[in-house]
Amino acid sequence: MSKILHVAIHEYRTNVIKRSFLLSLLSLPLFLTVSIGLGLITESLNSSKKPIGFVDQASVIRSFDTPWVDADAEVIGILPYENEAAADDALQAGEIQGFFTIPPDYIETGDVQLTIVDEASEDARGLFYLLLRYNVALKFEPEMAARIVSGTNMMVQTPDSGRSYPAGGPPFSLTLPLIVSAGFVFVLLMSSGYAMGAVAGERETRTMEVLVTSIPPGGLLRGKLIGILGISLTLLTCWTLIGVIAVFLGGRVFDLAWLQQASIDWRSLSAVVMIALPNYISALALMIMVGSTVGELQEGQALSGLFLLVFFLPIYALQAIGDNPNGTFSILLSFMPFTSLITFGIRNLFTVIPFGQLLATFLVQAALSGFLVWLAGRAFRIGMLRLGQRIKLKEVFGRRPSLEAGGAG
């Protein structure tokens, strides 16, 4: 087995067989599952299919038609009662989930009263309100009344006319690249932590000097990076699998319309991956540089904490990017290292990002990652034997570092 592979396997095993890795692996899906689960629980609590009753003292309800509801959809029964006493009996007997009383002055006041024992579902209440509105509107033609009830199918058009989607929000295909960007940021942040720890930890535990007399420093660094790449791929693969299962369950089992229509916009997705790769390399290189130059692991962890903030800057600028996705500010954030990934995900919601811009951003990020890799290699060679010492940045950038190691080979 080659030594590089040996280092890579060690790096992978050391980090993956840890409770913290399992927690990291589960954190994102767990967060999403809890969020979605809570939503579903709330939804199920509000989705009682029991009939709802009403007592019409204003004689408003003349039709029980519901033309705005799909013909094959299950409709909650709406039962009329002569008086409140009869409706109350039905409620107490558990035949209905509640009943509305429409007072004689309803037309003037718009007031109705809902009587419940526990709770009336949102679906039942919503259906009754629409039925009431439909009946009030029946002084027009039934088609007109149905239109009044249905409202308007508004399509949201983004400012630069790049995207349009229903008023309910962007579809799955447009949201997916943003989710993938966020996933990449999580992977990238975790991997950066591993990279920094791998270098700073070995300097702190004094293992480095033994290692670099067993494998050339370049090989050692490559082995570590391959191991960390393996960790990242493990995370991505697990999250992708969990995501696919979640979409399947959400769409097929829980009948979530948003997920039933799930499709993939491959262009946007490819664009995110294209930007994510150099960002990933840059982040790793930067963290190796930090790990090679700090005196202690703890100091490195504090520095990497600051680094996290930069990634999430576009989230704070969400409004500004959304208002003008092709504006100077948005484009600037797309080009800036580490903010580009999330910025692209957000911009993609509102606009079709021109290919030229995408390519230019990729080239900028790729050039930056190349430079950072070079710098990280230099910092690593300078810092690897300066155990427990902080390395000044001017030494890394300097023409002749004062303590640069040669390294066999």
Binding site: K3, H6, T205, T213
Partner: protein, 298 residues
């Protein structure tokens, strides 16, 4: 073929000269003691030998030529700043390090088993390194240095944290390695260990070689300045003697420069002293070390 050849090596870090002019050779199958006070340039010299630092001047040959990656597996190195993976179980840590020296896992397992037994660590093999005592960690570090059966061993302060029993064990192991033809460069401050183990020594200070050669020859060279004398009666006053100190059953007399032991013996006899014992005091290595480093003699 020499295992190591260092010729007039120099290395500076900025304006600080770490090594100015160091030269020595490590012969095959010998133990060479690398001595020097703190900051003398020993670690820098070792790192230059291992190609971790490029020298500004001078030549280094290791195992017959310039360092290249293929030689890394033939070298065992235990640095002054020791380090094992503290969170890993001892066995896994040592097998990983053996793998980095090109050992297949199965070979490493079997060799490790015997070494752990030899160093009395077998029952601790599943424990994390951090759970071991300093002495045990030191022994583990020595195992990691020799597990891959290297031809050249460079070892810095091998006896740190070891009790007398384990010190003896490590000395025995080093002697065995020498008898197997391994070449050992041993850097240490413990002079009596050097005297016991080393065939030759190189003493450096302020980045310069001060002493280099066969240990016994060096000791003989530095003898003659002191003489052990026992007389039946009180020692008469003698010209040319600077100090007189009690030394076991005799007196140790330090001679002025120019005064020889022959001169002293003649003076004693002329003074009518009954001489029971008269022998050259062969200096201990630490005495030579102090005298040379202080600059009293070269």
């Amino acid at each position: 073929m020499n295992a190591i050849e260092v010729q007039h090596v120099a290395k500076a870090f900025g304006t600080t000269k770490a090594v100015s002019d160091v030269s020595f050779e490590l012969h095959e199958g010998e133990i060479l003691g690398l001595l020097g006070p703190n900051g003398a340039g020993k670690t820098t010299t070792i790192r230059i030998i291992l190609d971790l630092f490029k020298p500004d001047r001078g030549q280094v040959a290791i195992l017959g030529g310039a360092m290249d990656p293929s030689k890394l597996n033939r070298i065992g190195y235990m640095p002054e700043e020791r380090g094992l993976y503290q969170d890993l179980p001892l066995e896994r840590c040592l097998i990983y390090l053996a793998g980095l020296k090109g050992m297949p896992a199965a070979d490493a397992q079997s060799r490790l088993k015997s070494l752990l037994q030899r160093f009395d660590l077998a029952e601790h093999r599943k424990q994390p390194v951090k759970a071991l005592s300093k002495g045990m960690q030191q022994k583990a570090q020595i195992i990691s240095t020799i597990i891959h059966d290297p031809d050249l061993i460079i070892i810095d302060e091998p006896f740190t944290a070891l009790d007398p029993l384990n010190t003896q064990l490590v000395k025995d192991v080093m002697r065995e390695l020498r008898s197997e033809g391994k070449s050992i460069l041993m850097s240490t401050h413990q002079m009596h260990q050097v005297e016991e183990l080393s065939d030759r020594i190189v003493l450096i200070d302020k980045g310069v070689t001060l002493l280099y050669g066969d240990l016994q020859e060096i000791r003989r060279k530095y003898s003659g300045e002191e003489v052990l004398v026992r007389t039946r009666e009180a020692l008469p006053n003698l010209a040319g003697v600077t100090t007189v100190m009690s030394h076991n059953d005799a007196l140790k007399l330090s001679l002025e420069p120019g005064m020889t032991p022959d001169d002293l013996l003649r003076a004693l006899l002329q003074a009518g002293a009954s001489v029971e014992k008269f022998e050259l005091a062969i200096p201990e290595l630490d005495e030579i070390f102090i005298r040379v480093v202080k600059g009293d003699v070269r």
